[in-house]
Symmetry: C2
Subunit: 232 residues, 2 copies
DNA sequence: CCCCGTCTTTGCGCTAGCGCAAATAAACAC
DNA sequence: GTGTTTATTTGCGCTAGCGCAAAGACGGGG
């Protein structure tokens, strides 16, 4: 995929960059395409690049010693990922980045970006903003996991996903999400089975419609009620 | 508490600051003392200051709508807290900051620090480093909470605490921690009762010694084994 | 030294959620 | 269209961990 400076400005962190800077970034980047199921990087790899997704979808996961996965977030085009390595030399990626579909990304050399940070405060602010929002989201999800019941966490996850990625269908009401039961389980710290049972129940209640790797939210308000723990 | 520039350099983020900068920071700060049980700030307050703890201990917590708490971390002298507000104007604190004992902190105006960031790359790097380590720790704890059993999470928490705050006693072997069962429960997303049962069991096995608001780690290796899930 | 408030322990019963297993359904390849 | 692979559903049994309640244990204040 051919990326223009104008494209690059769609990346929040680069919003305020000058044209020259964008040009420079492009010159210090290469294109990487990964097919569905492949990985841009693994947890523990040395973070030599940070990425801007140009097409496709990328799932960030973290694995524990026994190989069990948790789902940290999904990346959509023009979002940055692998950026934590940009800050420290010698850093390693704290997560795996798996392509959910054939995907392309611009791989920017970490060293190069780090040197740009030295003289471009707008870039540091952009990155710090990104990091701040990550921290806040992680803290929130951590609290949810620690204090809420499975139903509430799953409802919250669907609400969050709807905000991040939901496609509002034109004719039919509803926000459509493309995630498997397994994906949702990994996002909420529960199991495939429990998710299936919950979604079935909610479908019976008319709050959502389900399909293979599809969840369509029909009554967002119903989810909000569940998330707040008002049902029970 | 009277703070000197030399003191301030003990703060990791300010490590590489010039003397002039440290002086400037001091001039734009005020001292705040909070007695045990009081709060430096609450979640949701506008983040007008960021803090450097000069004495005492501060617990960062997050509360949900029903008031249930989770424990994010404990801050010790010369660590920074409330820094997320430094980045964006108008930001609110994402956590509560409670004094665990009578504590003092230097309150630095967020606006001022933000303006310094514009021209001091070393400061941005320092802050980004801090944020990066937070993100990594939160991701790790999130994964633990999602995939590990209570025993493992508690063992991990004790290990982490030992690293962050543990005082190695001189004569007697062991690393001493000062936390109540309730504190540990809030850190690991479990309950007071379960913690009590676990600690009793571990004391029986000679891995730790317990007391009122005290936990002394006698055999760190035993904890590591439990954390890895090798037991049971 | 005693009182009181706070922290801790432990018995007990309960249930949310796990996870196997087997059936079913949807998509895909040829 | 057929066979195969992968996702989903659901019944069933089980247990880790919750949470009440009541009884200690500790420590500080007067």
């Amino acid at each position: 995929m051919k990326v223009s400076p104008a494209d690059l400005r769609k990346v929040v962190v680069f919003e305020k960059a000058t044209d020259d800077d964008l040009q420079l970034i492009l010159q210090n980047s290469i294109d990487r395409s990964i097919e569905e199921g492949g990985f841009f990087f693994f947890q523990g790899d040395v973070a030599e690049h940070l990425y801007v997704l140009t097409s496709g979808q990328v799932k960030l996961t973290q694995s524990n010693p026994t190989g069990q996965l948790v789902n940290l977030r999904t990346i959509y085009p023009w979002q940055m990922f692998g950026a934590l390595g940009a800050v420290r030399a010698e850093a390693v990626y704290p997560a795996n980045a798996e392509a959910l579909e054939d995907s392309s990304a611009l791989a920017i050399k970490s060293n190069f970006l780090r040197s740009m940070l030295e003289t471009r405060p707008y870039l540091s602010f952009g990155l710090m903003n990104l990091m701040t929002s990550y921290i806040q989201e992680m803290q929130e999800r951590y609290r949810e996991l620690a204090t809420e019941r499975v139903e509430q966490r799953v409802a919250n996850a669907l609400i969050r996903l709807a905000g991040q990625s939901g496609v509002r269908a034109e004719k039919e009401a509803g926000i459509e999400l493309s995630f498997s039961r397994q994906d949702v389980a990994e996002m909420t710290g529960t199991t495939l089975y429990t998710i299936s049972r919950l979604l079935s129940e909610w479908e019976r209640q008319g709050i959502i419609a389900t399909g293979r790797e599809k969840i369509r939210i029909l009554k967002p308000h119903g989810l909000v009620r569940i998330a707040e723990g008002l049902e029970k």
